[in-house]
Amino acid sequence: MTGPAVIYDDKAQRMADAMVAAEARAIADRKAALEDCECKEGLFPTAGVTSRRRFLSFAGTSLAGVAGAASFAQAQEKAPPGAQYFAVPADPTKEQGRPVAGDGGYGSRSQFETEVRQRFPTATEYTSWSFTPLDKMVGNITASGLHFERHHNGIPTIDPGRHMLFVHGMVDSPKKFTMADLKRFPSVTRRHFIECSGNGLTEWNKPTLKTVQGTHGLLSTSEWTGVPFATIAREVGLKEGSTWVLAEGADAAVMTRSIPMEKMLKDALLAYGQNGEAIRPEQGYPLRLLLPGYEGNTNIKWLRRLEVSDKPFMTREETSKYTDLMANGKARQFTLDMESKSVITFPSGEMKLPGPGFYNVTGLAWSGRGRVQAVDVSIDAGKTWYPARIDSLPEPMCTIRFSYPWVWDGKPAVLQSRCTDETGYIQPTLKQLVAIRGDNGPFGSIYHLNAIQSWAVAADGSVTNVHA
């Protein structure tokens, strides 16, 4: 490979290559669909796509081997995941619509909305991750069905009637709680992002993935409902000297992480609700640990056990995996906070601006250390910065939506955004970050890439991922 003197090991290189290929296939499918779309400039690629070709191409991405005339009719009737296919009347005012509650009582998204999570092509589908399509999302909350995923041995099916949370270790009274027990406690409801600390791991050395879904899609925001751990801690009583809590999941990886007690008592939630309904199976149904602002892996899904201790347990994930190997050969451990970060989602990679004129540049900003204080936008690769408009209410450890009114003069530009959080920390440039973390990534310090993202807009309006 070309670029800086950084060497991917063979595993990292294979994975990155496979992801580049998978993303390229998805982009090709999108472009094929656009040929039948009135929005030919490619600015709003999903607008009004009704063609047979769209459905065929969609099926092609989701089902291996769907091709050719035999499967065409079937593909034509296929609706995207999360939707049902209905015939489209020429004039919806001239015939009756569908009957009320004909959906059985649970609604689905429009058959015209095709955005899906995209899986990183790890060798096995059981330990893998999928990205949220940030480029197509509006507002601040991630649709539950598009929340990014990271599973270490598949998604378990858990009967909530049999699920128990055990709380034991250095406590006065070890206890077990059914889901019904947990729901009897007073609950809180809070909006928080979750970001995988591996978000952007392909981007340390050179711009690798083309879309913001690939570069930043391991970020999602939900409204979470649950019981503060502090409430449960009072219930069981903490012994003197208890400083860590092991959280354990009920999946086939029996995932474990050690969490500082200080964090657990400050704002940890035992969450059973997501966006007004039960947590989705992929997000830990029926119960997950929610640690606002901490790296995604610590937010243990399918939570079944909390063991209070006076030391961390040195689990596999907190020693051999989610640690940051520096250039001097030493690794940072328990790097739990997700730091201040932002990204422009419109326009972003693989979009094309139809011509000079007004564009409402928009994106997301967040910090694991508190509220977003300010976001700046640059159109000249960071030489000059302008304050962005904050379009949603800043809340602690939650994304905000920002925007910037831009009149493009048709000349090449490099768009960037920069987040400052309420602690005064400023999102760094990649150069600043590499100067600190060392350049033996991506198999050295692959996690916690929170650098400023650059999107280059060419004179023809095409937008690409660049390092600037």
Binding site: I7, D9, K11, A123, T124, T127, N153, F166, V167, H168, S173, P174, K175, K176, F177, T178, D181, L182, R184, F185, R234, E235, L246, A253, V254, T256, R305, E307, K311, P312, F313, M314, T315, R316, T319, S320, L325, A327, G329, K330, A331, R332, Q333, F334, T335, D337, E339, R369, T420, T423, G424, Y425, I426, P428, Q432, I436, D439, N440, F443, G444
Partner: protein
């Protein structure tokens, strides 16, 4: 008179409401009593082994026994020689090698080169391996396959037995390779 009665009546009503309010809210609740005691028997099925080995089960094994456990349960994904297997549908990690590479441009992170505690290996194998049938090995099998991996990594001798007392004493090559999070990096503040 009539008005006065109403006023008195309202006053009594108000007093009643004031008097009632605290009991409606009860006391500031700090203890609810939900949930049930967890018995030692119920908790016995759980484990998480810290570096001092607390909670390691009885039993033991050595590399010779472990070689067979490895061949039967691990080699398909991690390779005959613990070299890993990147094939599609498999993707098992490389387990040994890589010593001395951590400060290089091409660090190789394995049990041998990177993992700071042997107890973690026991915990993880017992917990989550083999990948397609996790938790299926006996404690003796886990001890012996751990001994095999550590022996192939030249961290222990092939004849060494791993058990609750010997495993926590194994000195991993990268035992002192970790430091606590030094962030926030203060140069990134205004």
């Amino acid at each position: 008179m009539f008005m006065r009665n109403i006023a008195v009546g309202l006053g009594v009503l108000c007093l009643a409401v004031v008097a009632l309010a605290p009991s409606v809210y009860a006391q500031a609740q700090t203890h609810f009593g939900f949930g049930a005691p967890a018995s030692p028997e119920e908790l016995a099925k759980f484990f998480a082994i810290p570096a001092d080995g607390k909670g390691l089960p009885p039993g033991g094994g050595n590399a010779r026994e472990g070689a067979k456990v490895y061949a039967d349960n691990c080699a398909a994904c991690h390779g005959q020689h613990l070299e890993g297997n990147p094939a599609k549908g498999i993707g098992g990690d490389k387990l040994i090698g890589g010593r001395g590479t951590l400060a290089s441009k091409a660090p190789v992170k394995t049990v041998e080169s990177y993992w700071p505690y042997a107890t973690t290996l026991f915990d993880y194998v017992k917990r989550a391996m083999p990948f397609s049938s996790p938790g299926s090995l006996t404690n003796d099998q886990v001890y012996s396959v751990v001994a095999y991996i550590l022996s192939e990594a030249k961290i222990i001798k092939a004849t060494d037995t791993m058990n609750a007392s010997t495993l926590p004493k194994v000195e991993m090559p990268n035992r002192n390779g970790f430091e606590p999070d030094p962030r926030p990096e203060i140069e990134l503040y205004r």
